[in-house]
């Protein structure tokens, strides 16, 4: 196509009107006809043509509306063109590389567009599902303490004093300063998620037996029929960390600490809650678990540890 033909304002205006008139044709058909008309103009208009000569060529072509009407009225719509493929009708119809590339571009455009839409939709669905799952996990009920419970060591069980005032229960044992003390309590997972106890949370109630007597060891029982059924005997039960509690199942939580403090007669320390780090589905959170009753140690500190340990000097 001569540069002149394209640059001529009359031709530009004609092509613009042609594009507008062909808009109702299938894309491939319109593109082909446009290409043919432009090629015709380029061949028919010499480089040194005057505006009058250009106008005469365009007049002989017929108006864009007539061309579109001719193409629309008598040309069956081709499905391939509608799909933007515009492929040749037989093997011998070799299209120029540019046109072939254009058809391929159109084809690939739609394939790529569909793929992008599918990927975006998939990502959106996955994000929504993840958000929904996360939200469900965040709102899952925390672990519930209760059921069977007991001081862990026999010497504490032998001296425990249980009281209940105004619905508040408390179990108290003499402090054995410098020694391990602790209790075991059932934990029930009320949620639909497996909850895994990872350890003691640093940002919640977890202190037993003095400011320096934070919980030393916790553990969740491994599957044990007796514990799972709510039994109170922990003979032979193993406690592990992290401790997995499947949905709607019961496990035992053992809480042990070294009572590294000294208490005077009549003073006591303890807690009725413990903050645990728990993984729930895709999230990890702090759960403050209600221990059903208070677990307390009381003074006076006695025995050799009370005399020799640094805490009691």
């Amino acid at each position: 196509m001569s540069a002149f033909a394209l640059d001529n304002p009359l031709v530009r205006e004609y092509v613009r009107e042609l594009d507008a008139a062909l808009v109702r044709l299938p894309a491939g058909q319109a593109s082909e006809l446009r290409e043919q008309i432009i090629a015709h103009i380029a061949d028919a208009v010499p480089p040194d043509a005057t505006d009058e000569q250009v106008a005469a060529v365009l007049a002989r072509l017929g108006s864009p509306a007539e061309l579109a009407a001719e193409a629309t009225a008598s040309t069956p719509v081709r499905a391939a063109d509608e799909a933007g493929l515009g492929g040749p009708q037989d093997d011998t119809d070799v299209r120029p590389p540019g046109r072939a590339r254009s058809a391929l571009r159109t084809w690939w455009f739609w394939v790529t567009a569909c793929a992008i839409v599918a990927v975006v939709a998939l990502v959106a669905v996955m994000a929504l599902a993840a958000a929904s799952k996360r939200h469900a996990a965040e709102t899952a009920p925390v672990l519930l303490g209760g059921g069977a419970m007991s001081w862990w060591y026999p010497q504490d069980r032998a001296h425990e004093v249980d009281t209940s005032v105004d619905g508040a229960s408390q179990s108290t044992v003499p402090i054995r300063s410098g020694q391990w003390q602790g209790f075991v309590i059932d934990l029930f997972n009320r949620s639909h998620y497996t909850q895994t106890v990872l350890g003691v949370a640093s940002n919640g109630p977890s202190a037993f037996a003095g400011a320096g007597g934070n919980v030393g060891i916790i553990g969740v029982s491994t599957p044990n029929r007796e514990v799972d059924m709510g039994g109170g005997s922990y003979t032979g039960v193993k406690f592990v960390l992290p401790g997995v509690i499947p949905p709607h199942q019961l496990r035992a939580l053992r809480v042990l600490w070294i009572s590294n403090t000294c208490l005077d007669r009549g003073s006591y320390e303890g807690n009725d809650e413990i903050a645990l780090r728990v993984r729930v589905g895709p999230i990890t959170r702090t759960e403050v678990v209600w221990l059903t009753q208070g677990w307390f140690v009381t003074g006076p500190s006695t025995g050799k540890y009370a005399v020799t340990s640094s805490w009691c000097r």
Partner: protein, 117 residues
């Protein structure tokens, strides 16, 4: 006449292409040389596309040295066959039309003369 012209334009295109392949403007000019056959140059292109869709014409791009690439149209074997059928039918059809037109025009002329007399 417009419809008749449209009806015969396709066979005329096939006839020109049966001589040798032609590119668009060349074909248009040859058709235009036959006076009264083309109402507008542009209508040839939708016709060529229809013929190609029907398998009667094919096209290929030629990029001759020193020339810009042009799409050349050729007649296919099916096109040759279709053209042959049209030619045989057209001869008979044109004779019939001429006969009818001739027969129909004679009484009118006679009557006119009669009235003149």
């Amino acid at each position: 006449m417009t419809e008749l012209r449209r009806g015969v334009l396709g066979p005329c295109v096939l006839a020109l292409l049966s001589v040798r392949p032609r590119f668009g403007l060349e074909l248009v000019r040859d058709l235009a040389a036959a006076d009264g056959l083309l109402t507008s140059d542009g209508t040839v292109y939708p016709l060529l596309n229809r013929l190609r869709d029907a398998g009667l014409v094919t096209s290929e791009w030629r990029d001759d040295e020193g020339e810009r690439a042009r799409r050349y149209y050729s007649i296919t074997a099916a096109g040759q066959e279709s053209l042959a059928e049209f030619r045989s039918g057209w001869t008979h059809f044109a004779a019939t039309v001429a006969s009818v037109l001739g027969a129909a025009s004679a009484p009118v002329a006679t009557a006119g003369k009669g009235r003149e007399q």
